[in-house]
Symmetry: C2
């Protein structure tokens, strides 16, 4: 399980490593193509190799002007041409110019703060109809005329706090192809923010994310079961975006869409022909222990004998939708559907990696080991357990097992030090020793359960994958070391 695959699993598909290549991303080119087709090929072609072909790029000023028109034009005027113009122009810009344009948008099309102050003044000048909601009735100011003024000013204040760039977002959203443009704008914004922290742009991103969440409410999404009968242009996208367990060939794809398997996608009518997110499900007799059982089971079992639906892969296709939890709704709808169609299936589980465990464990071991050393120097005879931050992560019998199994290597070291020394090398040699493996296992399992269920950050599980599933209503059922290559993959069975 590589880092990229995990990122996709969490619906935050990788940003291109070189941001200046964004203009070349398949997504952008696709939209460029779409837009130029819809313009009867009058549109200039998309830049073919980024910054080099500057002569094909529109000048920054031209695109900035079309952005201004798109925002400031009266809505009864014909907007479509302007929005097409802006979209095309944007895609033709170099990454540096896109950055400049997005900063212009964030800073110069922000709130009208003079107006906000003015409305705040008006608002504070009015006697409130009961300061807290519950007193509204007893406030005594029940004159409808007054109340109507009050609500009007409150509404105006609320509206004045919306940034001017909302207009661009709203207009693009109602414009054919515009939702796709917005997701690409956001992917670019995220690329920039990954490199530099710019508050105004972060505020714009947070606003755009809120809008996209609203527009992509499950009510606006269509659930579609993807099968071998779907168009090749759609299946090609499944192959391209599946990144948890890459699809190796057509036979593999056909298998994943065939007997004992399901693939469901969430589609939005404004982004036709590709799912925003899709999930792959295996129908099994029991929860699988390893992903190999799922990917390599020949022949499939009879569907009528299945009792378990295993969600073994979920992939998002739009980097610009990072952080918008569509997976939650998709999983819920698929569970409802499977329950309805196959009442004999009663176990719903996922087979998921635990990407943060290794890092967490190593840093815990390292910091405890440092605290231990510090103690050895400052008060060598004191009881270690008296130190505020010191904690032995291991149970006595786990420690004993570790020391016994590691022999000479362990001389003079405590259990945590042995563990740290053995786990640190990326070669993971210890996995080749069955003695070490069986001595390690109980401690690793227990610590992994603790990591998944007890370690939190702002009320969320520290592990991003675990948090995703737990928030969706999963319970943690079993943890196992399933991948000898990368020993800290594990699995969470859930729902």
């Amino acid at each position: 399980m590589n880092k990229k695959a995990l990122a996709i699993l969490m619906r935050a598909r990788m940003r291109p490593n070189d941001p200046s290549k964004l203009a070349l991303s398949p997504l952008s080119n696709e939209v460029n193509q779409m837009l130029s087709n819809s313009q009867g090929n009058q549109a200039p072609h998309a830049t073919e190799d980024g910054n080099e072909k500057l002569n094909k790029q529109r000048s920054f000023e031209v695109v900035r002007d079309s952005m201004h028109s798109a925002i400031s034009m009266n809505k009864t005027e014909v907007l479509d041409a302007v929005l097409n113009d802006f979209s095309e122009g944007y895609f033709s810009l170099s990454f540096e110019n896109r950055r400049k344009l997005l900063l212009t948008l964030a800073k110069e099309y922000d709130l009208n703060r003079t107006q906000v102050r003015e409305l705040i003044k008006q608002y504070l000048g009015l006697q409130l109809p009961g300061v807290s909601g519950n007193e509204a009735q007893s406030g005594g100011v029940e004159d409808e005329g007054f109340l109507s003024t009050f609500y009007r000013i409150e509404r105006n204040l609320r509206h004045s706090l919306k940034p001017v760039y909302e207009v661009l977002f709203e207009r693009l959203n109602t414009h054919p192809g515009g939702l796709k443009v917005l997701t690409i704008l956001r992917a670019d914004i995220l690329s920039i923010l990954a490199e530099e922290n710019i508050s105004s742009l972060r505020a714009l991103d947070s606003y755009l994310k809120e809008k996209l969440s609203t527009w992509l409410s499950p009510a606006a999404l269509e659930l579609h079961q993807i099968t071998w009968d779907d168009p090749a242009s759609l299946l090609e996208k499944i192959v391209a975006y599946e990144a948890v367990h890459p699809i190796s060939n057509l036979i593999d794809l056909k298998r994943r869409l065939g007997v004992g398997r399901r693939c469901f996608g969430y589609f939005h009518s404004a982004i036709p022909g590709e799912p925003l997110i899709f999930i792959e499900v295996a129908l099994l007799k029991a929860v699988a222990q390893t992903i190999q059982e799922v990917l390599w089971d020949h022949p499939p079992i009879l569907e009528s004998e299945a009792t378990c639906a295993l969600f073994y892969s979920i992939s998002s296709t739009q980097p610009g939708l990072a952080g918008i939890n569509l997976g939650k709704f998709l999983i819920k709808r698929v569970i409802t559907l499977v329950k309805r169609d196959m009442p004999h299936i009663s176990v719903f589980a996922t087979l998921s990696p635990i990407p943060g465990f290794m890092q967490w464990l190593l840093s815990k071991l390292a910091s405890q080991s440092k605290l231990g050393e510090a103690e050895d120097i400052s008060c060598s005879s004191a009881d270690r357990s008296g130190l505020t931050f010191y904690e032995n992560l291991l149970e006595p019998e786990e420690e004993r097992g570790l020391i016994e199994s590691s022999g000479d290597f362990a001389a003079g070291k405590n259990g945590m030090e042995i563990m740290l020394n053995l786990l640190t090398p990326t070669s993971h040699d210890w996995t080749n020793s069955s003695k070490l493996l069986s001595a390690f296992k109980p401690a690793l399992m227990r610590l992994c359960a603790r990591y998944l269920l007890q370690e939190k950050k702002r009320g969320k599980a520290l592990d991003s994958v675990a948090n995703f599933h737990l928030q969706n209503g999963a319970v943690c059922n079993a943890v196992s070391i399933i991948d000898q290559q990368s020993p800290f993959g594990g699995r969470i069975n859930s729902f």
Copy 2:
């Protein structure tokens, strides 16, 4: 063209005359049915005859509690059951209890104004990064840490100005069947507001309308051409909701979906099986002069010979979506589609009534006639044109023609008085006299053109139908008296 039909034309389908019957509206029952089906029939049945069967109604308190749960429950808890519970409960309430519940929602789930005040205080305490948007760069306060605090407080203030009831709306929107529930809630709110002006409820309505507009953005709507191959359950809805030119029988319906005709609907995935709005189009050799030409042309012309697409009917199906202009986007998309598929069609027009003309003309005539009388008394010899508000609506030759054609009847009366006297009786006897008809026509045509194009209210055309078309980019091409039964119907050709 009756009043109801006009209201539907403007996407403001009639509220039931007796609000207490709302629980009986086909829409509500439908949803009730839907909900009880989805509950495996465990749900109590919908009230069958309103207030009478109180024993079948849930008590107000129970529904209020489920509303409270639906709003206040943590989002990681399972909400579906609670939302189903609330929806069912709501539909089982009498109109009086629905009113009570909606008022509770409007008043007790409003803003937290203590929090708003606190955030305003924090906000005003910060030095602004340039008061107007354009000065943001030159403000000099470029410390990212400070800016990030500033944007955070601004965002918090924006969020605090959102009423608590937004949570209910958002949750219903993401809940299967919830969008339909929201449209019914709004239909009820509009019924109440038609009877009494309650500021808090009006504020709630305006908020809900804004949310619905966002969720029903064209990007979330699917355009579908409705044909004779569509399911009967869908076609049945077309018959039920078509209210501009009622569909008399199956042959009539088939004709409207057949050669030389098109019917397009906007569908939302959360309200399956019925369009939110649909439009009927006739493909003709030239713009029709009367609706009869459209409805009764046998046999149809060859589609390849058509040069004109006439939009002869548009109907909205959801009373709860009143005021949300879906028609505008529908017309735009249909025009694009027809242009693409049939490039030989170059004229896009509508044949529309002018519902407000008669009323406007009569009140104009009456007020001028009063001003005239007042003048006769106060300054009988003065020049009438000197009076500030007095205006002869008729041109000299129109006045002459009217006086000559009306004979004895006109003795001592001026043109406007004659017009007023003849137009007032609802029997419209004058339409039977070809002499009067031809004398009236020039003045009526001219005044109608003035009414359509020059009479405005808050920048909008006074006539609601005209305003709808003019806002959509139509131009007024011709006005004619087309309906002898109701002589002030007319038509606007457009686009």
